[in-house]
Symmetry: none
Subunit: 142 residues, 2 copies
Amino acid sequence: MNRFLSHATNRIDSKGRVSVPSMFRSVLARSAVEELYVWQDFVFPAVSMAGPEVLERFERMIGSQDPFSLEANKMSLLIHGGGVFMKLDGEGRLLVTDFIRDFTGITDKVTFAGRGDHFQLWEPAAFEDMQSQARKDRTASS
Amino acid sequence: MNRFLSHATNRIDSKGRVSVPSMFRSVLARSAVEELYVWQDFVFPAVSMAGPEVLERFERMIGSQDPFSLEANKMSLLIHGGGVFMKLDGEGRLLVTDFIRDFTGITDKVTFAGRGDHFQLWEPAAFEDMQSQARKDRTASS
DNA sequence: CATCTTCCCATTGACGCCCATATTAGCCCA
DNA sequence: TGGGCTAATATGGGCGTCAATGGGAAGATG
């Protein structure tokens, strides 16, 4: 499978590390991704992860605008200032830095959620809430 | 990686120095940058830093315009009058001068923000505000 | 001579790399 | 079909190295 699907919750250890679910790691391995582009999501209180090609897609969006415009600068503030490259350790874990904690509210557990071409890190309760709310909205509107 | 990404906040010491995040220093080292071109940003209350090639790029922009035009003169006022060269000390720190403080409002802490081909120094609260505003704009428009 | 820089060294804590244990899932075979 | 046997995943921790920070003292500036 070449998509990020499903979700799982893992514990953060005493050194602040957490294992990326093997399901997701195998998708990354398939496209030979070494460094992950990680960004603070534009919509949800979650950080998103994907291969570097996503950053390049974002940069092409900016590149088509006037570089001195407020719009282009604000967008760069999000995708560059709100993004970082990370790598996993030998065991497929990543360090949950303040960059991630401050934005998501994650403390001791992480919910990994597949999003097709990328996956996200959520504070577990926040994920539950948002998912059940999304379900409710759907039901109400249809 | 060869881009300036992510953001981090460091403290200014009693001598007015602050460490440039190692992440940024390694990008600079990669292109063997010794002296940094520093300018007061055109859209945000932040100072921007990059290698000298950025100044050269700005100067080419001016060079392609009519030297008697108001536009070209205003541009020079910003990139020359609003810019300086700085270097880092042996430990990768820079001195936070009044040139930087007056324009940014920085007092005791600095938020470094990656912007792709350069990085910026912000007053921490100002950065938070501007970034969350940018995020709000995006959500509203989509 | 007083102040501001620059260069050097010390300390503390965080991070990267490596190896150990455990818990689970899958598999083989009698 | 039940009982292990094996492999892979999740998790825990040691230890060396590097980053961030603090401060002394020499050198430059006016």
